[in-house]
């Protein structure tokens, strides 16, 4: 189909104006479908979604998974005019060496926000989620996303993300099952809404989403736990069997222009992986508390990809949590 582009994308992550701009520049009509977790996107693609979408926006670890599953097309040298715009630190990431399948979209962190009106103690600890003080128990929303919850839990316990140590895994299982008693709900797409509306006092959240939440409710504060937190980079990937492969490449080139990708950052409040965005960024972004970890903050960690056998154990733990 000449002139079409089908994007599979996170919810609330792409300003409509930017798509309109792309359409205005290229005459390509953009259709966008949304998902709320990397895993949901993968599942949907595998359940018949391949061949209908041109590009998707998986997080770092999901890029390697999708590549492993053979879902990604390879971008040949020279196919992307603006490939050179990729910031050097993101040009050769471990999840996509040489950027043969993807380009950077946005990066940020995943931790949680706390309503300081409801809790005045120290919030920079993962205990807030996994071993909360009495006044926060029952007022916690978790992201409905296995990868992020498990990664943060591993940081909380100080164990590797793909541990094969039985004792560690049992302890992780036990810790999560116990912690669940304190949680009110699992919501990803309403993560901001439940915080702003006061339904919960603590909510696991992405940094930019947390910043938006704070702008609607000032008493919310984003935490940088001393145990560490999750960092991620979302990437635009070229899908196999893309019905509009050329348009997909045009779209990627479009997003590699600093002016365009910074519009995403201004909208979603995350970092861009492209050089030269400085002039276009909202100055406020530079000083956002959500993107400036305090000195006490622990290490940021990417989510790791486990092998099948290990993953089976983690899946089992997740089921135990949600059952």
């Amino acid at each position: 189909a000449e002139g079409d582009l089908v994007v599979y994308h996170w919810f609330e992550y792409m300003p409509q104006e930017l798509l309109d701009k792309f359409t205005a520049e290229t005459g390509i009509n953009v259709t966008m479908d949304t998902y709320d977790s990397n895993e949901a996107m993968l599942a949907s693609l595998k359940a018949g979604g391949m061949g209908t979408y041109d590009v998707a926006v998986p997080g770092d670890y999901m890029v390697s998974i999708m590549a492993g599953e053979g879902l990604l097309d390879t971008i040949a040298d020279g196919e992307l005019a603006n490939k050179g715009n990729i910031a050097p630190e993101w040009a050769d990431p471990s999840f996509d060496p040489g950027r043969t399948h993807s380009i950077p979209y946005q990066w940020g962190s995943t931790a949680f926000s706390v309503d300081t009106e409801a809790y005045s103690g120290d919030i920079n600890t993962t205990d807030i989620l996994f071993n909360p003080p009495a006044e926060l128990s029952g007022k916690i929303n978790m992201l409905d996303s296995q990868g992020e919850v498990m990664a943060l839990a591993s940081l909380h316990m100080g164990i590797p993300q793909c541990s094969t140590d039985r004792e560690q895994l049992k302890a992780l299982n036990e810790m999560l099952v116990n912690a669940k008693a304190h949680w009110a709900s699992f919501n990803s797409d309403t993560a901001k809404e439940v915080l702003v509306s006061g339904d919960v006092a603590v909510g696991m959240i992405y940094d930019g989403f947390g910043a938006k939440a704070r702008s609607e409710k000032a008493s919310l504060q984003y935490a940088f736990p001393t145990q560490g937190y999750v960092v991620w980079m979302d990437n635009v990937v070229l899908l196999n069997d893309a019905p509009n492969r050329d348009n997909a490449l045009k779209f990627m080139d479009f997003l590699l222009q600093p002016e365009n990708i910074s519009a995403v950052s201004n909208y979603a409040r995350y970092g861009a992986g492209v050089s030269g965005v400085g002039d276009f960024l909202d100055p406020e972004l530079a000083t956002l508390p959500e993107s400036n970890p305090p000195a006490t903050a622990g290490q940021g960690a990417f989510i790791e990809v486990c092998d099948e056998a290990t993953q089976a154990v983690y899946d089992q733990i997740w089921t135990n949590v949600k059952k």
Partner: protein
């Protein structure tokens, strides 16, 4: 409704007997290809081997059912014990659906009875009033229920304003919220079949009972209820069965915290888990349960028909 289509009536009129195969053909084609075949395919999938991260490998395997019924420990290498996890999820679903059913019955029976005893002219209007909300999108109804039940929602505001409570009732994200949601989703399904059978009820039976010295409540228990039992059972099934497989209410009102069967199945195909054979097996087990319930119901119905 399930019972309604299945009965088909006893009329043996045969005006169009010669043409019947042609007349039936379109329904057979469409339904066998787009409902029956998919369900059978699902049955096949439940016996296949799971592919890591979604999909199937075409190799026979009982793993899905094994996983459902047997617990081999966190690492899958212990001696099999009975797996309580999924039984518990099924049990929770049954329990939630059951609570919603009972709630619907408590409100629905008097309502159905009251409507059936209105003058004939206004009865249709009452039925109409009961059915309208059912035609509003289930999603919208569930979401508005969520809005209504929130801690700072209109219900709590109202109760606090009239002074019935001091601090908001915490309902949202609890089992009660799920039950209320299911109850609200399917209440008309309870009212309508009961209404239909009470409307057919011969009130001379109540008069006969009163004439024979029975008080109203004795009449209700000993005459009315046994006589309209088929309608009550139909209503219970029509609420129970869809509640059992529901996933909107647990997801939106229960905070997605505790799986019900519906969300467990959805999770296997659209969520993190990506275990298709297991999702298919869970679906088959759910379908089997539903069919058993319907069979019991059909038998009851036949018995009741034999009596009247």
């Amino acid at each position: 409704m399930a019972g309604g289509a299945a009965s088909g009536g006893s009329s043996a009129s045969d005006t169009y007997a010669e043409a019947r195969n042609w007349l039936l053909l379109p329904s057979w084609v469409v339904l066998s290809i787009f409902v029956l075949a998919p369900v059978l395919m699902m049955l096949v999938y439940s016996f296949l081997t799971k592919e890591f991260r979604g999909g199937v490998i075409w190799e026979f395997s009982l793993n899905a059912y094994d996983q459902f019924f047997f617990d081999r420990g966190l690492f899958g290498d212990e001696a099999p014990k009975i797996e309580w996890t999924y039984i518990a999820i099924f049990w929770r679903s049954i329990w939630q659906a059951g609570a919603a059913t009972i709630l619907s019955l408590i409100i629905g029976f008097p309502t159905a009875y009251f409507i059936a005893t209105r003058p004939e002219k206004s009865r249709a209007m009452w039925v109409f009033l009961i059915t309208i909300p059912y035609w509003v999108n289930l999603l919208i109804r569930t979401v508005s229920m969520k809005f209504l039940l929130r801690d700072q929602g209109p219900l709590n505001d109202f109760l606090i304003n009239i002074g019935l409570i001091d601090s908001p009732l915490h309902i949202i994200n609890t089992n009660l919220a799920v039950q209320l949601g299911l109850f609200y989703s399917y209440l008309p399904f309870m009212v309508l079949p009961i209404y239909a059978s009470v409307e057919r009820y011969n009130f001379a039976l109540s008069e006969a009972a009163a004439d024979l010295y029975a008080t109203k409540w004795v009449t209700l228990r000993r005459i009315l209820l046994p006589t309209v039992k088929p309608g009550v059972i139909a209503g219970c099934i029509l609420v129970f069965v869809p509640s059992l497989g529901a996933f909107l209410a647990p997801d939106l009102l229960g905070g997605a915290k505790n799986f019900m069967i519906g969300s467990l199945i959805e999770e296997q195909f659209k969520g993190n888990a990506g275990n298709w054979p297991f999702g298919a097996a869970a679906s088959m087990i759910l379908l089997t349960m539903v069919l058993i319930i319907l069979l019991i119901f059909a038998r009851q119905q036949r018995k009741a028909e034999a009596v009247s």
